[in-house]
Symmetry: C2
Amino acid sequence: MAKTRWLDEREAHLWRTWLRLNQELLGILEDQINREGGLSGADYAVLVPLSAAPDGMLRARELGREILWDRSRLSHQLGRMEKRGLVVREECVEDARGAMVRMTDAGRAAIKRAAPGHVAATRRHFFDHLSDKEVDQLTAVLDRILANLGS
Amino acid sequence: MAKTRWLDEREAHLWRTWLRLNQELLGILEDQINREGGLSGADYAVLVPLSAAPDGMLRARELGREILWDRSRLSHQLGRMEKRGLVVREECVEDARGAMVRMTDAGRAAIKRAAPGHVAATRRHFFDHLSDKEVDQLTAVLDRILANLGS
DNA sequence: CACGAATGGGTGTCATGTCAACAAAAAATC
DNA sequence: GATTTTTTGTTGACATGACACCCATTCGTG
């Protein structure tokens, strides 16, 4: 067990900024979604992959994989969303264990209502402050970090 | 209401990476703290400012301001931590409304146990994949975004 | 085919976070 | 100095998330 190498001043600053930015930015965007679409951030996260899928339908397993949720969390969330009429669950034909999740018309309407404001807020608070070059640099760095997370 | 300008391919990619990286990275670090110190991420967040404060004591208001928590959340969390003997609440001399929060010896021991592994994990999963120059670039970009969040 | 392991999904329970309402003290206003 | 307004902290109710466990189905292996 080697002696700990603590973060130096620059590193600590970056780390605090990283955490704080993440926290505040997500909070702002969540509020935004909440106000404009009557949706929670969780609702939105679920509806996004569904709206991109054919027939607005995905297998629960796939859905969970896309948004990195465990099955329990997804199941609870789907139960709540089903109760509010945003999605329905149907049987899966090719695998009797599975469950298909389909977005209802109300679900599609809700995300169509929320999405423009969400994108606008994302631009206003994030992309508007980045040059094209910085987008590329940032992408390269974050992709690299993400790719090494497994280790 | 102008027509929505959706994210292009590069932007969408960066945005997904940002969200996913945060989610996974924070999850990993939380697990780490959890295992090594028997602490939750919330416990850790509370203990960090306390361990940096004189006498391990801060006014609740200050503590909440540092970690950007609202009063209710902090109060609940402190209640739980007090029950587990990590902190104690004391009266505030100069303001009878206030509450002082003091880290107990057990609290200090817990964070001393968790901190080295936490820093190591932060390095392993984050800083080890960044050059010095990239740290500076990233800091500049994120600071700028953070500074503009109020708008 | 039979059997144990793995997978997909659900449920209950408890920890955590949010929100509205409250009470007490301090600050501001008149 | 009395009265409103803010600030500080707590509480209770409720939404959400994490975790352990359950059941049915499918897969892998003999």
